[in-house]
Amino acid sequence: MSDCEKTNYIGKSVQRVDVYEKATGKAKYFEDYQVQYRDLLHVKVLRSPHAHAKIVSIDASAAEALPGVATVVKGSDPDIAWADIPYASSYYGNPAKDEVIWAGQAVVAVAAESIEIAEQALELVKVVYEELPYVVDQREAFKADAVSVTSPELGIAAGYGGVQPEGPNVMGSYKLTHGDVEKAFAEADVIVEEEYQAGKKSTSQIECNGSIVEYHEGGGVTIITNGCGVHGVVKNHILTMYPQLSSNKVRVIQPVTGGSFGNRLFPLVEPLAVLMALRTKRTVSYVLTRKEMYTSSPSNWPVYTKLKLGAKKDGTIIAEKLELVEDAGAQIRGYFDGRLSSSGLMCVYNIPNVQCDSYAVRTNTMPCAPYRGLGCAESEWAMENLIDVLAEKLDMDPLEIRLKNILKKGETNPYGEKVTSIGLGRCLEAVADAINIDEPCQQDGGPWKYGKGIAAAGKQNTPLGRAEADCLVHSDGSIELLVSCDEQGMGVQTTLRQMAATEFQIDIEKVKVTRADTAITPYDNFGASSRTTYTTGNAVIIACQDAIDQLKEAAGRKVGLAKKQVTIKNGKAYFVGSNIESIDIADLYEPFSFFTQQTWGLLKGTPVRGRGVFCPAPAVEWFGPGHEDGRTPRMWNWYQYSAFGAEVAVNEETGQIKILKLMSTADTGNPINPKLVEGQIDGGVIMALGFSIMDHHMFQDGKMMNPNMSDYRLPTTLETPLQKNFMRAILPDPLPDGPFNAKGMAESIMIPVGPAIAAAIYQAIGVRPTEMPMTAERVLKLIKDKEASDAK
């Protein structure tokens, strides 16, 4: 193997950097820092039992007087800096002021010497509520005459996206017109139409959200948190909410952190913990309980989709009309407008005439945040199901109709964007092949019926903000990357290390990655929309190249050559046109003593610092002049794709579903670390199995009825097919502008799982689910309804 191949770490399954400490219990997550603070205060929060109520009065005097209570926070306290935050809402976790708008919203918070004392104090708080009408069903909330989620006098922010509200709860809307839909439907040979619903879910990461806030004399804070985005989310919000804190007095550290899957993308615990630390001048720990993770931390946004497709006899889809409503939960203001969810309905198929009317609506349920896939698993549920209906009408098979209509590289999608990377065709063929889609399942005459299904998916990458990276080349030749991107288990520290080692053509052991700490690592937004590999990865490459450039210059000076005659690899500078063949990088740095004068140039002890800044090209606003139709040549960034196939057993008597065999394929761009990609596929598939057939919030009287891990059912080893029946493949189409042609990939995996299972259910028992998750109860109801209608 040549030196160059040896130090090319791209596409190699290099072991993760953090596994030794994780396998031995030595890895320190934020809560593990508690033991180091012996005088810690603990936070507990009293939460609204009502979906919507006016807070008439709060009497917390007995709680305040309880020995061991350090402070009590109410929404009406003057030091709650609401800044830009709507005062009735508690999006950022601080107690509500006048009104609670979901069951689980914070009302009073206590910091005390122990958790027990804090809980005791909350029992002493008396709150008088006046209950108000509420709405938890998003279709109800969307109506023009719906119950208002907040008292109208609290003032509702105007719709986002330039469209004014069309009912009391409509937050925003996004509309797109591509071609002439009505004309196309008139020309279509076959038209299909259906309504679909995807439910409310929690990401349910095993590590609960929380942070420890250390107070410093002089009014500063250090926040040790599992929140996302040390700079882009946590620090930015804290500085906005507490203007008395100057930027140099706020330090945010992300230690080893459990998965987030989008749930921690908004600061939820940090604002309250900081407020309490500032008040008490003590170190404060605030950790959500599992129940609070369900009732008080964000859910996904459920999506209702009404979809209509028109096709020619040969299977070419020529018209798509969709009305989509995303349920943003209890928030007054936000960026939701349906654009994120509806993107899933415009990135997979090449449909020349599209009318999209999408909206976001508020409800009196916990506010939403991203959930792996940004609403596309919820919306593509509609598209993939309806395509199967269409295929049946046209007497086409599910693979054929998809292959015929999917976007091809170089084509333009309904937004008007040119597709630069799409590996979906191969993904689809591979899943169809793996489960032998053409071969019908054997039926055994028992209550279990068998069927197969496939589905396709795409997911946009939102071109979010900026990533920076610093690359230090220490004077012994070792390399350190300083990055602030979130590492919540995806393995990005490892992939960034692979990229840097490859850039320097150096043994990977010489590269270390220093994780997010605002006092050390430069700006990054947050890990969302599968952006980290692409955005931070590109920043890392730029930083490495900058450092290499500086080394070349320094090395060139040593031997009297221009830098273009210098190559850096294997920890050495190599020269062309000199009688000196090479110099060790370490020898470029001059030794110096305390008394050395005129110490210009590279010095021992002072690393070369390469800087990398990367911002994806911005989206072109879709409602500006010239974009009245909602189209733009740059709506999103790139797209990741996935396909899924499953063989499923459905119990006719109970409605129960078992996944017997599955195949997931992913177009990841060029994968940096295949084993890490496989891990994302596996985890994404299992998460999606729950999402599709098991887990969802159940409401009664406006309250979530299953806020614990036994009633909120998550997939275990028992719901997972046997090893030999769990198949996956990485089928990349390289992304031209990705780092080493990679793209992010962890979201699209989720999306096709539900519809493929639905197709298999239809094949097995002849009913088509339209609501997800397809729980046993729901499937059984479909079976009973069918029996009743067949009997007629």
Partner: protein
């Protein structure tokens, strides 16, 4: 602020060391391990025995330490993730989790490893089905379970072949 008069004395063995505790009887084992003894490798993801992150070994069997009061630890031999390796030499189960990429965020990992060791303690020839059955109380949201089961099968085979641990 706590009334120490109610405290109970609990003698037990933790990771091979005799421990003598004087603590309030309403405390759970996970709380004492983490907050009194600084053994923070044992994680807590819920409070009602449903996630498995807090799994430890009690006399060699898997137990959820969030659902055990400290009194139940009396005279028991407890092993936590910190007591699994032999100095710097990893337990084959730990090594297998690393080798098979069975760790992502790692929050479920200590509990998974403890349960896995208990499964093989009980049945050194546990089949894939036995392993799945034994592991169903441990939730993982990142990795899924494929690589975890693969790791446990590998550790089983290595232990059986080499007589390690």
């Amino acid at each position: 602020m706590q009334n120490r008069a109610n405290y109970i004395q609990v003698e037990c063995e933790i990771n091979g060391k005799a421990v003598d505790l004087l603590v309030s009887p309403d405390r759970t084992v996970v709380d004492v391990l983490r907050n009194e003894l600084g053994l923070t490798g044992t994680k807590q993801g819920c409070d009602d025995g449903n996630c498995g992150a807090c799994t430890i070994l009690v006399d060699g069997k898997a137990a959820k330490s969030c659902s055990m009061l400290i009194g139940q630890a009396r005279n028991k031999k407890i092993t936590t993730i910190e007591g699994v390796s032999n100095g710097d030499v990893l337990h084959p189960m730990q090594q297998a989790f690393i080798d098979h990429f069975a760790i992502q965020c790692g929050f479920c990992t200590p509990g998974m490893i403890m349960t896995a060791i208990a499964i093989l303690n009980e049945n050194p020839n546990a089949t894939e089905e036995d392993i799945r059955e034994g592991l169903h109380g441990n939730l993982c949201r990142c990795t899924g379970y494929v690589k975890v089961v693969e790791a446990i099968e590998d550790a089983r085979d290595k232990i059986n072949a080499g007589g390690v641990n």
